[in-house]
């Protein structure tokens, strides 16, 4: 046998002596640099320069956007080149064994948040309604909101005092949104500040926070998928390339290490959060799971459904997702919709059973407080309270016109208490005409709030903002409506304050919600019921 080993050794096609010499060739230091800067795939060169620009703090979205003149371009070029050299030196130091300041080239400089003015142009005191109060506004010249749906800014409140909102700064009411700003409130929504993000970063999913200052977010920088992480409330961000194909459009971190998400192919992201008119179909969606805070991921294809609109993971391995089929013909009382749920971290998915008359749409959302209790918003068919020839022709001076149908598509609410296997339809109050609800958030297994609008004209508005609360898992509801305050900034379509969009109830201590206003409106109303007793 020894002879065989010796014979085998002579077949070795490489010279170990030469390998030892070769391994110390400087070219391998160059390779190491490429690896730690994320460019080892060789798709593009000059990555150090790219990252230098990436990590330069972004422009303050609240300052006027000046055109770049020759001097400014030269300054930016010098800054980029200088940062590139610094980053190059740091990376080489890693390879050479010198401990660098930030070896991974991925931490932004610390930046203070910039305070925003509170809603001083709204009459004081702000409106009260039930346990809720209109507490202020996220004020920004050019704050953009979508005219065809709920506020595009996503609200994330890890506690009843700390909330983050991803902001859309698109300047047109058509085309894809631009989620490149982040707002923070540390006082239950009364005052807000804007945080600096890595330059060029845009969100592809709402921020996920496992604590008041510990958050992970998915997005893109220069067309590349990245994750950004903060542990100090968004003053510093660690940026790392996403280690899996596609881009994350849903992210749920139960802790600083355990995260779940959904990815879609890169090309779909610009349109997936756009209006309903351009939603792609047959998306190749993958469920992804990380146990190290997003540094590495396992990925598995979701069952062939099209497409998931909301996923919630109340535990590390328990997730529930709802969605619909964009291409399915939609007729009254026959809506598409599906529920998927897993209890093993995505290895196996089960299908839930929905009521026959219920379905989901592109706006459908979900809230789960534990592995068994969830509430979801979808659509059902209900009698049309404003049928032409039967009811008033027009509601309000600008608002709703009557429609010919005897029935209309309205929001339906379903709940489950078995982890998603079976769902029950929960009737909404009869005094909410044409309910159109956008968001749901549950503080515990039976206490939930849903937010949206009802077809009740108010001044120039055709509808009114409404919140519905329940303490018995949707069997009964309490209703909260708001009077549009005097002096409200109706500076675009004059129909601000007619709906409530995102809502977040981190615990039984209360909730924060954002109003929906027109594209181009100068503020977003903020509602709160913190410490007021709930529904």
């Amino acid at each position: 046998m020894k002879a065989i080993k010796e014979q085998f050794k002579v077949l070795d096609p490489v010279s170990l002596a030469r390998i030892d010499v070769m391994a110390n060739h400087p070219i391998f230091e160059e390779l190491a640099l490429k690896i730690v800067t994320g460019d080892a795939d060789g798709v593009s060169d000059g990555i150090a320069e790219d990252w230098a620009e990436d990590l330069e703090p972004g422009p303050d979205p609240f300052l006027p956007q000046l055109g770049a003149g020759p001097a400014q371009r030269r300054r930016r070029a010098l800054v980029s080149a200088g940062l590139a050299l610094v980053l190059l030196a740091i990376a080489l130091a890693v390879v050479a064994g010198t401990r660098g300041q930030t070896a991974g080239l991925t931490t932004t400089p610390w930046r203070a948040a910039r305070s925003l003015p509170s809603g001083t142009h709204v009459s004081v005191p702000h409106g009260h309604a039930g346990s809720w109060e209109l507490v202020g506004d996220i004020v920004r010249s050019g704050w953009q909101l979508n005219t065809s749906g709920p506020a595009p800014g996503d609200l994330t409140c890890p506690t009843t005092t700390a909330c983050y909102v991803t902001g859309n700064t698109a300047t047109k009411d058509t085309g894809p949104p631009v989620f490149d700003s982040l707002y923070f409130s540390g006082d239950s929504g009364h005052t807000w500040s804007v945080l600096a993000l890595p330059n060029g970063f845009a969100f592809t999913a709402p921020v996920s926070c496992s604590g008041p200052g510990t958050c992970l977010a998915a997005g893109v920088v220069g067309g590349r998928a990245v994750l950004i992480e903060t542990s100090d409330g968004g003053h510093e961000w660690a940026v790392s390339p996403l280690s899996i194909p596609g881009r994350i459009v849903s992210l749920q971190c139960a802790s600083s290490s355990s995260c779940n998400g959904i990815t879609v192919p890169d090309a779909l992201v610009p349109t997936i959060e756009d209006t309903a008119l351009v939603l792609p179909t047959n998306i190749d969606e993958h469920f992804v799971h990380s146990t190290d805070g997003g540094h590495s991921w396992s990925s598995s294809a979701l069952p062939p459904v099209d497409r998931v609109t909301s996923m919630v993971c109340p535990g590390a391995t328990e997730c529930t997702a709802v969605g619909y089929v964009p291409s399915a013909p939609e007729t009254a009382g026959d809506y598409s919709g599906f529920v998927l749920y897993t209890n093993d971290g995505g290895s196996e998915w089960e299908n839930g059973v929905l009521p026959g008359s219920f379905g989901f749409t592109y706006l459908s959302t979900l809230s789960c407080t534990d592995a068994t209790h969830c509430m979801a918003l979808g659509v059902v068919t209900a009698p049309n309270p404003y049928q032409c020839g039967v009811s008033p022709e027009k509601l309000g001076t600008r608002g709703w016109s009557c429609t010919s149908g005897a029935t209309a598509r309205v929001t339906g609410i379903v709940t489950t208490d078995d982890g998603g296997g079976h769902w029950q339809l929960r009737p909404l109050p009869s005094d909410v005409p044409l309910p159109s609800m956008y968001s749901v958030s549950c503080a515990d297994a039976t206490t939930c709030w849903v937010s949206g609008s009802e077809a009740v004209p108010q001044g120039n508005n055709g509808g009114s903002a409404v919140l519905l609360g329940t303490t018995d898992d949707g069997v009964t509801w309490s209703k909260v409506t708001f009077v549009v305050p005097q002096g409200a900034p109706n500076d675009v379509g004059s129909d601000a304050y007619m709906s409530v969009g995102q809502i977040s109830c981190p615990n039984s201590g209360g909730c924060i919600a954002l109003g929906v206003v027109d594209q181009g409106s100068s503020s977003t109303p903020v509602y709160s019921d913190i410490g007021n007793g709930g529904p």
Binding site: F8, K9, A23, E30, A32, I35, V36, D41
Partner: protein, 204 residues
Amino acid sequence: MTRSRAEVTIDARGERFRELYIAARPRIIAYALRRSPSPEDAADVVAEAFTIAWRRLDDVPGGDASVLWLYATARRVLANHRRSLRRRSELVDRIGAELAACSTSSSVTDSLEASSARLALARLSDDDRELLMLTGWEGLNAAQVACVLSCSATAARIRLHRARSRLASELANFEIDTKQGHQPRHSIVEGPIPIPTPEEPLTR
């Protein structure tokens, strides 16, 4: 200003990767060269294996097991390379050109003994050949081979024993053939020796 947790983590990651990169680099280069159709492909495998190690550094075990983890990763990278055409970067091409100098003499200068052994090796199954290469060239013992191939140490020992027996048998057959004046049943193997497809686990 105190350094953030993210900064400290990044520093630790960089330091750990540097140590792994320096320690394992010669062995992974050799591993890739022995199994790749060209030095450029070997360079690509090396680059990709270490890139995966950087991205998944928290998954890389400590100590000597880190090299075994890299061998297993390189093995999967090789399998993926065979399934897809990749556009190599300019840097990888330059590394490949440098690695070409690491190859030993070609088969035309092989001794008769080496030619016989090369032929015998080529006659073995992919599984047997990979086992013998890991032990004979990478210098791994059975327990380490088990780590790379994701099988039990006992299974690795048994299969290694069988592989060596089959290689001895092939060598004996070759000697009989040549003594009787027969031409070898296969021509001398040139270039890299075929290797098993890693995506299919070896039979336990």
